[in-house]
């Protein structure tokens, strides 16, 4: 059990107001585009208008003549330095600037540098590029056809097939299906979508020829990993590279990869000896940087007539675009997709995934989820509803019948994951009670009699977060630990640095709360700093809800090391033995004599002024934490919506989200993250898709076409929680930021299908725009 701290200390469980807010509300944040250096110049990317074309010539003489233009860099130029290709974060490589041919619309072709951003854009217009059309491959289902164009001529294997991956027992699973009395099948497409953080990607690269030091301010969720990759790829000494991720305007996975723009800015700065700024536009962000999902999935469930599930069989086609730039560090090509048995106790399961190349932007990044967990959660939660429909059973009853029971944890699922903890029924029951489920079902029945359309959608998802145990995760060999270094100053104030990097999560407050919890130093006295590779200990960054499970633990462990030393100092000051001292947040006291005590501030002062012989001066510690397992947050979400029969518009009436992320550091911050993730889930379910036409033209390339919900479309979210602490996490915490994005799409879609199920509707693919519903109503003859 965690000791409760006072509000002044502000340890775990307190809704401490965020320390970072003061600069943001006054316009005093420092985002990458706010960095301005003497002599700084601007880069602009020339991009391909074609999805697949031979590159036969680039003429840049006119551009170079424009006053103010300093350099034009092409793929051929980079090739001379061996930099025209770079490794992706998943066993593939991608072009920095195109050589030979282009493979997707908006691919990077040339980089122009000029004295100011307008001149750079003008010069880009003057560059003439010759293309010869090549046949375009858009449909991943056609990628392996004999007559499909081979996209990646650079690879030895002349195929568009990237990988086949399977997990589970195929034979045993097939065996269960042969005899199962009930089978349900779902074919679902999780569309390509984009994290679209409000700040686009960008950097300022500053190479100083005198010191030979390269400093890069970068929109990076993983600055240390970027530093090492820059060192390995560009051959620069790692100590001469400093990556600074300043304030970041949202990431959601989009800012994990290294993008060609960063590399070009670095090359240009090396070439010119001047700082080079490159900031992408919104359309560049949506059209060329890490997309997510694009999974064509099939799930089959074998069950008994009474609804007890037996086996799950999943087959998926993954569209990775032109390069497999899946920014995911697991050892598995489909990441953690094998969490697809979800919250349910299947005896057998088998899952296979094939990845293919198409003429689309590269990626497959983990958008607000741990590497394909959103796809998995959506698939199983939709499939359970399909089974319920097949059995004519209430989806709640079906779920309750099949939940992994609390006494089965730690639970080894048939696809190999060991779930650390869970109480799915408790979360479900709280959600049912909050929403008034049985009354809603009665209301729905009455409405149906009147011809009105109302739906209730349930999702009781399980997440898997906190990458990760190094046996399963690494980035180019670097294991997925994370770190914290704490220094307590003589006056009892402290600075803590981590290998993570917040992009809105509030680490400056929540990580200070962990230190406050462990050391009793008030949150107000603790500075948290992340993102500067010259000062922070090495870590793998912030994504996959890993900050709290991994760096959060490192923070607690570093604090405990400090407390151990503080005990020695307190014993010295109190002239007592260490064993006779007891700790309460903020002070050591002598057992049985509470008035004989020393505060952590007094102890900190003594660490520099009055320490015993044999003890080093100072009060600091560093800890690197490699977790033994992942954490498994879960929850039940229930969506109630009404459908307008005139327009087909679904309107969310209520949405209850019950989350269980174990012990909570800051309830206010957790609730805020859930609101935000649900809103992103709403957008994915109803509004967003990065689609391509048959020529490979992006159809969702701006905010005019790729819709972001405004305050008007977004409902009020009702949140609540249950608490099942993680047994292996020293604070019992689990990570939460991604749960709402993972769990909610199925709740929305289940609600729409539920509203239309009596008409025989079994599935609708996202995004469920009103026209899709209207078309169904029209076909059924009930549109108004």
């Amino acid at each position: 059990m965690l000791q409760k701290t006072s509000p002044e200390i502000g340890g775990m469980g307190h809704s401490v107001k965020r320390k970072e807010d003061l600069r943001f509300i006054q316009g005093k944040g420092t985002y990458v585009d706010d960095v301005s250096l003497p002599g700084m110049v601007y880069g602009h990317m020339v991009r391909s208008p074609y999805a697949h074309a031979r590159l036969t010539g680039i003429r840049s003489e006119e551009a170079k003549k424009l006053p103010g233009v300093l350099a034009v860099i092409t793929g051929e130029d980079l090739a001379k330095a061996g930099l025209s290709w770079m490794p992706t974060l998943f066993h593939d490589k991608q072009m920095v600037l195109a050589t030979g041919k282009v493979l997707f619309q908006s691919q990077e072709v040339a980089f122009v540098v000029a004295e100011d951003r307008y001149t750079a854009a003008d010069a880009a217009e003057l560059i003439e590029v010759d293309y010869e059309d090549l046949p375009v491959l858009v449909d991943p289902h056609r990628a392996l056809d004999a007559d499909a164009p081979i996209l990646r001529e650079d690879r030895e294997e002349k195929t568009n097939h990237i990988f086949h991956w399977e997990v589970g027992d195929r034979q045993a699973t097939d065996g269960v299906f042969q005899t199962a009395p009930v089978k349900a099948e779902l074919n679902a497409f999780f569309p390509r979508c984009h994290p679209a953080p409000l700040e686009t990607c960008g950097c300022v690269a500053d190479y100083n020829p005198a010191t030979t030091k390269l400093t890069v301010w970068e929109t990076s969720q993983a600055p240390h990993a970027h530093r090492t990759l820059f060192a390995l790829v560009a051959g620069l000494p790692e100590q001469n590279i400093r990556i600074i991720a300043p304030d970041i305007g949202g990431g959601f996975g989009n800012k994990v990869p290294i993008y060609p723009g960063y590399v070009c800015a670095v090359v240009a700065s090396l070439q010119l000896g001047r700082p080079v700024k490159w900031i992408e536009s919104r359309s560049e962000n949506l059209q060329s940087t890490g997309f997510a999902r694009d999974y064509h999935m099939k799930a089959e469930i074998a069950a008994d007539r009474d609804g007890k599930v037996k086996a799950l069989r999943v087959k998926t086609l993954a569209d990775h675009g032109a390069f497999n730039a899946a920014a995911q560090p697991s050892k598995f090509p489909a990441g953690l997709f094998s969490i697809c048995t979800g919250s349910y106790d299947f005896s057998e399961a088998f899952c296979e995934v094939d990845g293919v190349y198409t003429n689309k932007a590269p990626g497959g990044i983990a958008y607000r989820c741990s590497f394909r967990v959103t796809e998995a959660a959506y698939l199983i939660e939709r499939a359970m509803d399909v089974l319920a429909q097949e059995l004519k059973m209430d989806p709640v009853e079906l779920r309750l019948k099949n939940f992994v029971p609390p006494d089965k944890f730690p639970y080894l699922c048939p696809l190999g994951w060991s779930y650390d903890s869970g109480d799915y029924k408790a979360a479900m029951e709280l959600a049912l009670e909050k929403i008034g489920y049985s009354e809603l079902r009665k209301e729905q029945e009455e409405k149906r009699r009147k011809g009105e359309l109302m739906g209730i959608g349930i999702s009781s998802f399980t997440e898997i977060v906190g990458a990760g145990p190094s046996h399963t995760f690494d980035i180019c060999g670097i294991k997925m630990f994370d770190s914290c270094e704490i220094r307590v100053h003589p006056t009892g104030k402290a600075i803590a640095r981590m290998g993570t990097k917040a992009q809105g999560q509030g680490h400056e407050t929540t990580f200070a709360q962990i230190v406050a919890q462990e050391l009793g130093i008030p949150v107000a006295d603790i500075t948290v700093e992340e993102g500067d590779t010259d000062t922070a200990p090495y870590g793998l960054g912030t994504y996959a809800s890993r900050s709290t499970p991994v760096a959060g633990t490192a923070t607690a462990m570093a604090s405990r090391k400090i407390r151990d030393k503080a005990r020695k100092l307190a014993a010295h000051l109190l002239e007592a033995s260490e064993e006779d001292l007891e700790w309460e947040p903020g002070k050591f006291f002598v057992k049985g004599a509470p008035s004989k005590s020393k505060t952590i501030q007094e102890i900190a002062f003594a660490a520099y002024t009055n320490f015993p012989a044999g003890l080093e001066a100072g009060l600091e510690a560093v800890h690197y934490y490699d977790p033994p397992n992942l954490t498994f947050p879960f929850g039940t979400y229930i969506c109630v919506l009404d459908i307008d029969k005139g327009t087909g518009e679904p309107k969310v009436r209520r949405f209850v989200a019950v989350d269980d992320c174990g012990n909570i550091i800051n309830p206010m911050v957790v609730e805020g993250q859930i609101h935000g993730g649900l809103t992103e889930g709403l957008a994915i379910a109803f509004m967003q898709e990065i689609a391509y036409d048959e020529s490979g033209n992006v159809q969702g390339g701006t905010f005019m076409d790729y819709l972001i919900p405004t305050a008007v479309e977004t409902p009020n979210w009702e949140t609540d929680k249950t608490c099942t602490p993680s047994p292996h996490h020293p604070l019992g915490a689990k990570g939460v930021g991604e749960s709402p994005n993972v769990g909610s799409p199925a709740a929305f879609v289940n609600a729409v299908v539920d509203a239309l199920s009596h008409l025989g509707v079994k599935h609708i693919d996202m995004p469920i725009a009103p026209w899709k519903i209207w078309k169904i109503l029209k076909e059924k003859g009930i549109s108004e």
Binding site: I25, L198, G672, F703, M704, I708, T710
Partner: protein, 157 residues
């Protein structure tokens, strides 16, 4: 390059003069000429509102206004919202009600809310939602932003 134009604007109560290219966007003028970087750029299609400033008291998306169009007019940015170091009730509200996460939309959001409260000091929830509907936020889901505006409205009443 076109002939430069002379502009004179009052920004957050201070006069500024500059020779600028006629095509220079107001947002770049504010950020790069005046070095007021609290106003952000989040899209290039006038959708996101991160660049919202007040032009003669009315909210505009400064990525879609030329700086020369602001000649002789008054501009207010996020840097001019606090009064002598004292936070504006809206700024306070955003902090108290957890109305921000990454902070990138916040300045534009506050400027739109400023304009709303000046016109309508007691807005309903729906009026607040419509009032900030030109500003996109990817982090908060707007619920706490609505509360932040309500906080300010109550405080200013």
């Amino acid at each position: 390059m076109a002939t430069k134009k002379f502009v004179r604007v009052k920004v957050n109560g201070r006069d500024h003069e500059a020779e600028i290219e006629p095509r220079l966007l107001l947002v770049h003028f504010i950020r790069e000429v005046l070095a007021l970087t609290g106003t952000h750029v989040g899209c290039d299609t006038t959708n996101c509102g991160a660049c919202t400033v007040l032009l003669d008291g009315r909210p505009v998306k400064s990525c879609t206004v030329f700086a020369v169009q602001a000649d002789g007019r008054e501009i207010r940015t996020i840097e001019g919202v606090a009064n002598n170091g004292k936070l504006h009730p809206l700024q306070e509200g955003f902090k108290e009600e957890h109305g921000l996460q990454c902070g990138f939309c916040t300045p534009g959001m506050i400027m739109s809310a400023c304009a709303l409260l000046e016109k309508n000091p007691h807005p309903s929830e729906q009026e607040i939602r419509w009032g900030i509907s030109g500003n996109l936020c990817r982090c908060t889901g707007y619920q706490n932003i609505v509360k932040a505006v309500q906080y300010a409205a109550n405080k200013m009443a």
